[in-house]
Amino acid sequence: MAKPKLATTWLTGCSGCHISLVDLDETLLDVVGQVEITACPPLTDVKEAPEVDVALVEGAVATEENEEVLRRLRERAGKLVALGTCACFGGIPGLRNLHPLAQALQRAYVDTESTVHGVLPCSEEIPRLQPFVRPIDEVVKVDGYIPGCPPTPKMLAQALAALLSGQELVWSRRNLCEECPREHRAMKTTDFEFISQNVSSVCELDEIDPKLCFLEQGVPCLGVATREGCEARCLAGNMPCRGCMGPTPDAKEQGAKWVNAVASLLPAGTLSFLDDVMGLGCRFALPASLSPHWVGKEDEK
């Protein structure tokens, strides 16, 4: 029997998801033995993949070229899977949606402090940016999602095993607290004094207890409003969750959903120091949210 054919591509992303594929280490040898990799940007120099059984797409759709590459790949792929958070939800490149395109370009190419005599790129050969960044499922039909920034090698190995044996990819449904190893103390009971009297904020903490829930210590953590699946490795390493796995299944907007929860969890002092709710709550999934981009006037930003 012929080996199933696999192609990968990257759109607007950082190639981190492909690096994560390489991080499969010796498992990668098993994968290579089971599939025929026809096109894979870091490995091959194939501009256009032939017909394949499974295509993995990293990155969001931000340019005209991205859209064309994606559409052509869709036509040739049996199953097309979004690889990583940019492809699933728009990811970090999607934060550009908060600015009108002209201003984003002006800032990036002209106004940045390190730029001298900057000019806007105007070559015909450079693909033009689209007004807003979109997740790939707004352009083509997507058969499965592997979120994460990047997805862990373990998630990739499981997803590949499922795809190669013809199974559907299953989204996890719970929030990250399910996997988080940290303990709850204050959150075991209803206690309103906690939120009103305890005014500590992260800048007043001498140290962060590595075993206790971040929210209870007044440290903003996105874990409550983030899908499980990454095994909470950041949290085990004493880093609060930034939400890279994207919103929980029923949430339409990760930032607003996070606000719904933390407004009643974080101490008042922390809330008053939160000066970038957008950057905290919508860092990874803005283009896939309810209100995915700037809607104000061009000159108001």
Binding site: L98, R173, R174, N175, L176, C177, E178, E179, H184, A186, M187, K188, T189, T190, D191, F192, F194, I195, G223, V224, A225, E228, T248, P249, D250, A251, K252, E253, G255, A256, K257, W258, V259, N260, A261, V262, A263, S264, L265, L271, L274, D275, D276, V277, M278, G281, C282, S289, L290, S291, H293, W294, V295, G296, K297, E300, K301
Partner: protein
């Protein structure tokens, strides 16, 4: 598909500016299983026809397009219609109101007939959507405890207690004061009854006693009574609050019983004309203090007697029906983050360690929906006001074009703001018809995603109507709404949505004029901002 009947009350459509109810009814003929227009729902002939129709056609959801739901609940005998429909087989959660009087006909003096018609149609469509989406609510039948708690130490408390023991109901009179507090004149009149009461086997006098906690529901309230440092738990079927003019007592009782009061500190009656002793909390009767110029004792005696009637009416029933308003927690979603435990003001949420999921104690739950909003995993829903109904209604209302005024979505909490809007209409105050109301259970039920959705769907402004500070019927709903909105404003601003387009209106049920003025001013401000921008 579920069979839905749509009943219109033409009297409600004539309450203020007339709405062509026949034409309105004809618009819905194809979308429901039965449409009827009656003068009013409670005439015996209309009611008989409605219930017969429900039985014959196997109707499972009924829309009452007439007055405000509050109008029916807060009028003597007004809930009879719903009771009869329930008896005919309609689940109480599937009796849905479209408020065509207080939200459409009454408060928009001078609005063009076409606009009012469109608005009435939209409100009916929202009710229809609700009738299709909601699920039946589970009913728990609780036999009431034949014991009553009387709070107070004045003449009213004494009369209430005397009447109750006389009717064979066990009574505890609890008060923070050391003994009876009344004038010599009152004492002279009441001396015989006091001596009977004090020796009565059914009566316990608990002076110098503080009430520390009240949980449960009408027919079965569990209280914590504290006396000289010791506490004891006692359960009562009903509670009578007879603290007279003692405003501080009302304030102290608020976290326990959530009885509304007016600006001058008087308890707020469910209906000042026909139900002056019924409070806004089920199973709790009030004896309002006498007004200036009224002779105190006769008035207090009469009201105390009425309050006793109100409570014994409940306690004499074989059972009381309670709705289980919050859905079961979906274990496949619950990640055990314990957010629900932290947000619940009534300690109704806990973790079922065995099942590995959160759970809700329906006896403690007041169905405010705060945990539904806060739950980051979407593991639960409010059966009496499901999320799909709110999101569906927002999209539906966003599509309604009503004149050129800026369009405003008004999410009004059932506890205060919705009643304030009713009061505004009943007192004859006006605001623009482009304010589209949506009833939500509590300010804490307003999901920030819904606000974003409203702006995305095309609303020019959003008003969230909640209780006044410290007067939230769910204790913390108002507080959490405020905190959420502070954070949400950043999410709006960053997207280019002016945060001023979102306003919180905190208001009490009696503040009708202020409600109308706030809504009208907001539409005016939006109008100014929009014309200034173009």
């Amino acid at each position: 598909m579920r069979k839905v009947a749509l009943f219109f009350a033409s009297s409600a459509c004539r309450a203020g500016e007339p709405i062509d109810v026949k034409r309105l009814a004809s618009e819905f003929e194809d979308s429901v299983d039965a449409v009827r227009v009656y003068e009013d729902f409670h005439d015996s002939s209309s009611l008989a026809e409605m219930t017969a129709l429900v039985r014959e056609r196997g109707i499972s959801a009924v829309i009452l397009a007439g007055r405000s739901p509050d109008h029916y609940e807060a009028t003597l005998g007004g809930d009879h219609v719903a009771e009869e429909l329930a008896r005919a087989g309609v689940n109480p959660n599937l009796i849905i109101h479209a408020n065509l009087a207080e939200h459409c006909s009454l408060p928009h003096a001078g609005a063009p007939a076409g606009v009012l018609f469109q608005k009435a149609k939209a409100l009916t469509e929202v009710a229809l959507l609700d009738a299709r989406i909601r699920s039946a609510v589970e009913i728990v039948e609780v036999p009431p405890r034949r014991r009553a708690l009387v709070i107070g130490s004045g003449a009213a408390a004494m009369v209430a207690a005397y009447r109750l023991v006389d009717l064979g109901i066990r009574v505890v009179v609890a008060s923070a004061s050391d003994g009876w507090r009344w004038s010599d004149a009152e004492k002279a009149h009441l001396a015989p009854s006091v001596s009977i009461l004090e020796g009565h086997e059914l009566c316990t006098l608990a002076f110098a006693t503080q009430i520390r906690g009240v949980t449960g529901w009408a027919g079965d309230y569990e209280t914590i009574l504290a006396h000289e440092g010791a506490t004891r738990r006692e359960r009562f079927g009903g509670i009578i609050v007879a603290v007279g003019e003692d405003c501080e007592s009302y304030m102290a009782l608020w976290p326990l019983l959530q009885i509304d009061s007016t600006r001058d500190g008087r308890p707020y009656s469910r209906n000042a004309h026909t139900l002056s002793v019924r409070s806004t909390t089920s199973g709790v009767a009030i004896v309002p203090p006498p007004r200036a110029g009224e002779e105190a004792l006769p008035r207090q005696t009469a009201d105390a007697t009425a309050a006793v009637l109100e409570i014994t009416d409940l306690l004499n029933k074989p059972w009381l029906a309670h709705r289980v308003a919050v859905s079961k927690v979906d274990a496949s979603h619950c990640g055990l983050c314990r957010t629900c435990i932290k947000v619940c003001a009534f300690n109704a949420c806990s973790i079922d360690e065995h099942a590995g999921t959160s759970k809700v104690d329906e006896r403690l739950c007041k169905a405010c929906g705060n945990c539904v909003v806060a739950c980051p995993a979407g593991a639960r829903d409010l059966i009496t006001g499901p999320t799909a109904q709110i999101t569906g209604a927002i999209d539906l209302l966003a599509g309604v074009k009503l004149g050129d005024d800026p369009r405003v979505l008004a999410m009004l909490c059932a506890g205060c703001a919705y009643r304030a809007a009713d009061t505004a209409a009943k007192e004859g105050h006006s605001y623009p018809a482009s304010v589209l109301p949506l009833r939500v259970q509590c300010g804490g039920r307003v999901d920030m995603q819904h606000v974003l959705q409203a702006f995305e769907a095309g609303f020019d402004g959003v008003v969230i109507g909640t209780c006044r500070e410290g007067k939230c019927h769910n204790i913390v709903g108002h507080l959490y709404l405020d905190r959420r909105v502070v954070l949400l404003r950043d999410l709006l601003r960053e997207r280019g949505i002016d945060p001023e387009r979102l306003q919180i209106m905190d208001i009490s049920p009696h503040e009708g004029e202020l409600c109308a003025k706030t809504l009208a001013d907001f539409v005016g401000e939006l109008s100014g901002a929009m014309s200034g921008a173009t």
